[in-house]
Symmetry: C2
Subunit: 576 residues, 2 copies
């Protein structure tokens, strides 16, 4: 492609409303343009990369035996009513009435539609397993669309759904998808990690997320130093400390701690470490649907230097889901002091204690009395444990749950997620097949998503410098950039010849044919901003020495290549 | 692909709610499934063809230098308010409010969004011409979605928009798109015609439609027997008869024609031909925007055997647009008789007369008096002509407007449309660039659409028989079908070997590996239904003679091919 026949409206200034680097650079490089909050037009340069990602995803899904389908974006409310999600889903679901006043939504996901298809078209276990996918534009009415394509309202998604009669069969397809996702992200050229994840409200028993590692990531990803263990911090198990609880050596004593409320204030005031204090958090307890009056309260205790993991807390049966912290008023009414003064000693509600807090002795806690703390508190003697549980986020240096090594934490951007869904949707919609014994059986489902447009943004978050983006060869909009300098016939002819050769070989080449009014510096800056991984400069000066300058976007220095070798050099260098 | 690993849920019975053959066959062949009125899921088989069409469209658009972009489906109301279409567009436009109560629509077309992009990104004539296109799912809330994919609510469209500073430049891109569309429909393997079309309400000066010829088409397409002239009947000019008007030979006379209202009744009653009568139709006249009271009336006169062309009538400045027939009540009030008794003689409103009616003499017409007609009516002497105009649909045998040959009429399905849009949107949105003289100039636009999903349906409408569809090679979901018969090792091994060879060469091959419980007859019927253009049968009986049976879907008889030649035979036969 010649720049004169293309549209790359690069911008020098960083747009003021773009916070994250991928958003900034995609705007600056002329890859996307915003038309409304969370809605973007993909310009030619951006679309080229998006389509390359899409192609790799499609090829690997096909290789894995998944069948591509295309479901409508508009979905009738009836299906969502059958699954119960018409009521459950919040305002992120774009609902509309058609001209006949029938209810529809624009699908943010397609479990209902695919399960409806499966119940109509699949009749026998012999047709299973079946894994169907689509690559489709979805809509999610985010309350605050932000970060460009990282959290837009319209986005391109690959969503797959598999159907099975046995858990073993689901596991096998699930494993295949795990492998396929690794193949996809490897081919994309990304530094990524599959991590164990919480299945969340979508239900099901097993779930992995695929994260692109990037400092700007929204998620904390936990790794073992010595094993392949990796998990989202939401899920990563904080194992029990190896040390056992020591016998008490101190008596419990009340100390006045006027106006000392936070852990930082209390530890500074008492001159102790945070790991000698416990934090006691009061949340609402789970209640039956027909429960009258306020929910019971439940106490959650973690060590002062640890953070409560809300997802883990939600998994406790006695705790309300979603996790709801009791209001200050409620705490005062029920427990007689403010939230900051609560401690486990003498507390007349269930007390769930994190594994690390449960082995503490002679510790400090709130006194359940404003303005005071207790020192020398000991479990059993002074405070009762209802149950010990894993309640906290892991921290760097924790023992890995598989016993191999310790944990480190990095930031990640979620670009893929695979679930074992179970029978949530097939049960609700009555999607059954006949099994080997001729008996109707509800199908077991898996589902597998990749945020295709998000991958583009995540790639940039992971691959950029102060000059712009740096594309992996596989999804660079153009793999090779050419900048001719000088007006000699040789420069012109050689430029055309190399361009034609490379293009004929199937490389995506961007030839900057802007005239002399655009300086070489501007041309180089644009190539760098766009992130073209391989650049050559054909100049009179170089040709006088019989060479063409080659520069890899990731390397500091250029190198001179004999002009006759440039094409073979590039074909050896560029991953194709 | 092996049928055992695929999903082709064929159905024997013709679905009762499917009227047109493409809809029936796509449901029966398991290419699509309906999820709500006008909303379909593309199953794997259907999607394969859809994607092949999409690929050919994309390749040819790229070859023509058009730049692919992808605009959001959701569009902010503000842009449509700028163009005025937010008010003008009827309930086919799906409007919605987002969670912040802002108005949006789901785009049935993207003139506003692309013009907004152009006004922001294009600044100089040097960047022009620019032609941008997308291939995207659109939504149109049809009042009565029908005919499956022919008139669905969600559909895949290729829409392109070009920008220019001169009419010559627009004409050049327009011609290029005309040529590109011919290339596309030729590559798709369709019998099609580009025809002149009325530009309609979208405005602009020139317009062509591309029609797939099929008896089931909704449009009448007019061709010359001797030239390349072709036009939609809406547009096709009915030239003035070569014969001049004869002098009157009869006196005007009133005859009682009790209860004879239609042309058929009157001609039968008076024992004359329909071409000796005129039809006089009363429509509302055009009025200024601030006009008070009822619109004036206008009479339109065509020969009794001709049909009024409403589009042509609308083009008369004195006639209201859209064309509105006066109510019986209004006619009675204003003209003193019922609509069926109107005639031009003595009529005190403007009378527009079709060219063929204007050369009649001694003709019969209504008497403007219920229960009577006039005979021996003559223009000028008995009835006044306000203006002679082209007001009728052409009929078979009419003189071609270019003077070469006569006209024939076929049915067509519109699958593409190219327009010279002019400045309608660029003017409204203020999309300007600086011209050679540094002066801001409103850009001139063209737009170019192809109904990608409609092409799939139209192809079936054109290519089918009582056994099913017949795909052109280029877009067949599978080009080659293989049916192994017999359990011998040779059948098995040769089947695998041929399948692997053809697949490795890039052919899409469907191997029917269903077991013996499915009879060969059923397998053949499925292959025919799906419309696979080339079928081979590897059987013990054939192999005993060293042959494999080949059958072309379009031919009645199979032929035996030496087994060693089958692959080369197929590669020579199948268009790839």
């Amino acid at each position: 492609m010649r720049t004169s026949q293309y549209l790359i409206p690069t911008v020098k200034e960083t747009p003021s409303d773009a916070v994250v680097v991928s958003h900034q650079l995609m705007l600056r490089a002329g890859m996307i343009r915003k038309i409304a909050a969370g809605l973007y037009t993909w310009l030619p340069l951006g679309l080229k990369t998006l389509q390359k990602v899409e192609t790799i995803v499609r090829q690997e899904m096909n290789k894995a035996g998944a069948l591509e389908v295309l479901m409508p974006a508009a979905q009738p409310a009836e299906l969502w009513q059958e699954s119960g999600r018409w009521e459950q889903y919040g305002p992120e679901l774009l609902r509309f009435k058609d001209r006949h006043q029938r209810d529809f939504c624009v699908g943010p996901t397609h479990e209902e539609v695919i399960t409806d298809l499966a119940r109509n078209e699949l009749t026998s276990y012999k047709q299973l397993p079946m894994n169907m996918y689509q690559i489709q534009t979805k809509f999610r009415d985010e309350i605050r669309p932000r970060f460009g394509l990282m959290r837009g309202r319209e986005f391109l998604m690959k969503d797959a759904y598999s159907f099975h009669v046995t858990q073993e069969c689901l596991q096998s397809t699930y494993d295949k998808m795990h492998e396929t996702y690794c193949n996809i992200f490897n081919r994309l050229g990304l530094d990524f990690r599959p991590v164990e994840a919480d299945s969340g409200s979508i239900g099901g028993s097993s779930s992995h997320e695929f994260h692109v590692l990037a400092d700007s990531g929204e998620d904390d990803i936990v790794f073992s130093t010595d094993s392949s263990y990796a998990a989202n911090i939401e899920k990563a198990e904080a194992v029990a400390p190896a040390t056992e609880r020591q016998a008490p050596t101190q008596d419990k004593a009340e100390v006045a701690t006027p106006d000392q409320k936070t852990i930082e204030e209390v530890t500074a005031f008492l001159n102790i470490n945070a790991n000698q204090v416990v934090k006691t958090l009061i949340v609402e307890g789970a209640v039956a649907e027909d429960h009258q009056g306020p929910a019971p309260l439940v106490a959650l205790v973690v060590r002062g230097d640890h953070e409560l993991n809300e997802i883990k807390a939600e998994h406790i049966a006695a705790v309300a889901e979603p996790l709801t912290f009791a209001s200050d008023e409620r705490i005062k009414d029920a427990l007689g002091c403010s939230a900051g003064s609560i401690g486990p000693a003498g507390l007349d509600i269930p007390v769930y204690v994190d594994r690390s807090a449960a082995v503490m002795s002679d510790f400090v806690s709130g006194a359940n009395k404003d303005g005071f703390h207790l020192t020398g508190v000991n479990w059993d003697r002074d405070a009762q444990i209802t149950e010990v549980a894993d309640l906290r986020n892991v921290v760097e240096g924790d023992q890995a749950p598989d016993g191999n090594g310790t944990l480190t934490i990095k930031r990640g951007i979620e670009v893929g997620h695979i679930f074992q869904l179970g029978t949530k949707y097939s049960e609700a919609l009555g999607a059954k097949v006949l099994d080997q014994n001729g008996k109707a059986q509800t199908m077991i489902m898996g589902c597998y998503g990749i945020g295709v447009s998000r991958v583009v943004a995540a790639t940039i978050e992971q691959n950029n410098d102060d000059r712009g983006m740096i594309w992996p060869d596989a999804i660079a909009p153009f793999q090779i950039g050419m900048v001719p300098m000088g007006k000699s016939d040789e420069v012109k002819e050689l430029t055309e010849s190399i361009y034609n050769q490379l293009t004929a070989m199937g490389y995506d080449v961007l030839l900057d044919d802007r005239d002399k009014k655009t300086s070489p510096g501007v041309k180089f800056a644009d190539m760098d901003l766009i992130g073209i991984p391989h650049r050559i400069v054909i100049s009179d000066r170089g040709l006088n020495n019989g060479t063409i300058e080659y520069k890899n976007r990731r390397e500091a220095d250029a190198q001179d290549i004999a002009k006759d070798d440039i094409v073979s050099f590039l074909t050896n260098t560029v991953k194709h």
